[in-house]
């Protein structure tokens, strides 16, 4: 089973990476996750972010992830501790 963490995006580091302030962790995650994790997006399903990765840039990523509530399905953590994850919006804030 894939590890999942949720939280709010904060600083954007590049066109495909950002810092996640972790607020929720799936019960049964195999790894531990700190309150702040660097995320590289392997894929994304975010309102307002182009589907094509080559169209991503820092500005559009800022608009889509800063403060936004995000779900990160973890693919792997590299040696430097950065997480590669599928990033999506999570649930809905309303009807």
């Amino acid at each position: 089973m894939t590890d999942i963490i949720w939280g709010n995006g904060s600083k954007v580091l590049s066109a495909n990476s950002f810092v996640l302030n972790v607020t929720h962790r799936k019960d049964g995650n195999k790894q531990d996750y700190s309150d702040s994790e660097k995320i590289i997006m392997s894929s994304a399903d975010l309102p307002g972010l182009p589907q094509n990765q080559s169209d991503w840039d820092e500005e559009s990523l800022k608009t889509c992830v800063v403060d936004a509530f995000l779900k990160c399905e973890v693919n792997q953590r590299d040696e430097s501790g950065v997480i590669l994850a599928k990033v999506s919006h999570s649930g809905a804030g309303g009807y």
Binding site: N8, H24, P47, H89, G91, G93, G94, Y95
Partner: protein, 258 residues
Amino acid sequence: MWEPLVLRYSQLNKINLESILSDKIPAIVIRNFYDERNCQMIAGRIRNYKQSAFQNGKLKHIGPFLMSHTTNKKKYFEDAKDAQREFEKIFDGIKNPITHICESISSKFPNHSISLAREFKNDYSPAVIRMHEKGKSVPVHKDNVRYEGKEYALSDIDCQLSCILHLQESESGGDLVMYNKQWKKEDEKFRNIDFGYSSKVVNSSEACKMSSFNAGDLVVMNPNYYHKVTEITGNTPRFTLGMFLGFYRKDYKIITWA
């Protein structure tokens, strides 16, 4: 006091509605807005509605709502088309409550056009009917298409109102609670994983509780204020029809969707 205005339709005017948009009041409750016998007829049809449409009981609504398709427009518009056909059946032979709401709002904004939202020849869903059964509650949330509906053309509206027509009430519970606090982006840190927000987001906010709704009552509110529905405790399910109004101020245009 921050409390709703309760009135009859004949007392409704543009100033009342503008009072919601300008945050002076949380909501307007319009008593006997829609014929109670029609509500009973619709409720009967909803009860007999084919169960497959409710995905074996997992979903308790008829018609899609945009917020559950924030990045899947294709599916939303397909479901919206199906919903139009279902609504035609449910409202067959009686005054369509969606039309009634649109006509009533339009009459209070005579210099505005009003129409169902469309995008690339696709109609948005005109409404959603929700069934809330005993034990169900709706956590604190807001509705804000400008933020969560970024993929959709209508996310450029100037402001949004919500209309909720009560079709059938439970014997107890199902009260609407509104908090005197509007959503702002920083509040996203209070989000629940699946839906809505932790109740911490409205800690110490003034609240008003609206109860004793009757079938046929219409509630008009600014949905960017946090709100929730308390647990249904009676055996009779609560049925509501919900839709949104989006205002384009400069264009004197109102669009509707769910």
